[in-house]
Symmetry: none
Subunit: 198 residues, 4 copies
């Protein structure tokens, strides 16, 4: 290897690691795979990242940032006058129609964070950011978190159960959740919910 001087090598390694995770999942990340993907000697990866965890965190941080930036771009482009439930339901449809790998990636972070304390802050930050972005569209923070939860849960179902996405149904549920009065029975006193609520 005649490549002795190489600034941004660190970044190149991160990029390679992100690519590996994207293609083979977190489980596919190893010093070897990253070194190969970055076209860098094995020792170089351990030089820049003392442990594989450090590298994993760096890679996921980058993946996450990209994802969040994209969500933000979308959220900012939403017409404030349009019914947010419609917008969200349509956006989800696009997501599900798109690259499955992209979605998998996001959830891999969540699940990895379950067993891996070091990733917890990253996952938490991601969840919080999602909720923050959604506050433009929903009445309050609590609703935003609920919407995030619903989205995450629905995504799981789509990814795992190969069930087709039901845009209209999703829209309806979202609309309920986002109903702004903080009164779960939707604002006026009706009998239907009273039954439920008793």
């Amino acid at each position: 290897m005649a490549r002795r001087y190489d600034p941004d090598r660190r970044q190149r390694i991160i990029d390679a690691a992100a690519a590996v995770v994207r293609e083979r999942g977190i489980a596919g990340l190893s010093h070897r795979t990253v070194a190969a993907a970055a076209d860098v000697p094995l020792g170089s990866t351990t030089y820049h990242f003392a442990t594989l965890d450090d590298l994993l965190i760096a890679a996921l941080r980058q993946i996450n940032a990209e994802w969040l930036a994209e969500v933000e771009r979308w959220a900012e482009g939403v017409d404030p006058a349009a019914p947010p439930a419609d917008e969200l339901a349509r956006w989800l449809e696009e997501q599900f129609a798109g690259d499955r790998a992209r979605l998998e990636l996001e959830y891999e972070l969540y699940f990895a964070a379950l067993r891996h304390e070091g990733l917890r802050p990253l996952a938490a930050e991601c969840l919080d950011e999602m909720a923050r972005m959604l506050t433009r569209l929903v009445p309050d923070a609590a609703a935003a978190r609920a919407v995030v939860a619903l989205i995450d849960g629905l995504t799981l179902q789509v990814l795992l159960a190969d069930r087709p996405y039901d845009r209209e149904g999703t829209r309806a549920v979202l609309a309920r959740i986002m109903a702004a009065d903080g009164n779960e029975d939707g604002g006026d006193v009706d009998g239907g919910l009273r039954v439920n609520a008793r």
Copy 2:
């Protein structure tokens, strides 16, 4: 060791595998760890399960069945007259107050299924079963799936973000979702809920 005649060895191996997954996660599963946990020679695990994947699937199937049975026990014990949102919110509180490892386990299955095609049916079955059980409490299948989604998403948030569980908020959102009259703003009195709630 000298245990040559040993029916149920296969089952013992599965039990041991489930125990290993419970304690160390899916990543901790290997022929060696299982053999040690089952107090069985190494070759025995490969004899009864041609590949490690077979063993993993068997173990997860068992873990899953136990989990679903428990959920079912709970669902059947719910007072049909009580507001289902209250019941669900309280049940979730118990789950979150209990053993974190138990919950992690469930989500580990989802995680694995993301990248591991062979586990997909198991995960799908689990999600479907959850929805099926909830249909006792909610107006229709769509609402049940939405509730499952919300639960899964909330669980992720609790597990990952160390945020305390908000029972009242959750109850409110659940109540909204379950007000499944097809009118998302819940504004009129309809019979959909009444049926369920009776």
Copy 3:
């Protein structure tokens, strides 16, 4: 490698490990060096010995046993009528004139045991055995241990300081130590020591 069936492979690995330690010292022991010396695949060494420590202990145990057997042969051949100090001093001379590597080996065990708890029992056993064997020649166990200590200390000096062995001086000191009456000034009250003691 077409050598699938190979009984005594375990023993061959131990032999190879002992040879490696003999030639390159404990620090030279690695899975690789042993595998090469035993002409065995790398994985084979880790199969038979879960950790390198296990292998090291097995090798040292063997080396030790050989050494102790040799000492025992000598001890049993000593003329009981001859002055033991003479015999010991002569034996030491032979040792020092012989293979330096052989002696180094013995002391490497001692020193390795200093930092390595797992080797402690082996080293202790070796010291104890030496003392036990010498009890044929010395008045009591305490004297035997003192003789062992003296021998060990002298050996260090010979090995480390390249100082020639002084057989007559050693004989004299040994004779003193072995003087049997348990009275350190040799039995009668004399002025010699008193002078010293001033």
Copy 4:
């Protein structure tokens, strides 16, 4: 880091190396550990010490000097009128009751010197110095060397065999050894000691 002008950096590195050896043994010494302990960039350690061996020797030299200085302080403080065997036996007791790590350190030098030619002079010097210091207390150089040997051997036994230190027994043996009249059975009053002792 920003410490560009830094005289005594060399010495700081030595100090750090000595500290590393003290805490983790010779095997724990590496450029990295030293650099970290000295809070100095990695390259700095290789700049000041061409090879790791150079650094090791410097560290051991320092450790040794400290140890010998301490022994000397003790030796000079010994009451010349008191029986030297008593003093020595008591001093040993203090050593053994004290910090085990301190003793281990000293023997680690011996260990390393066995296989490492470059350390031989250091170890030899240490042994010689010990003997020299003891000549204040014992009749002659030969006796001093014998006492050093006995001490070293006993120390090994205490460190390795976890056997409690027997002060009285040790005192007795020391007294015998120091009764250096050349008459090994010490049985008659002769002038040998008187000469020495004057």
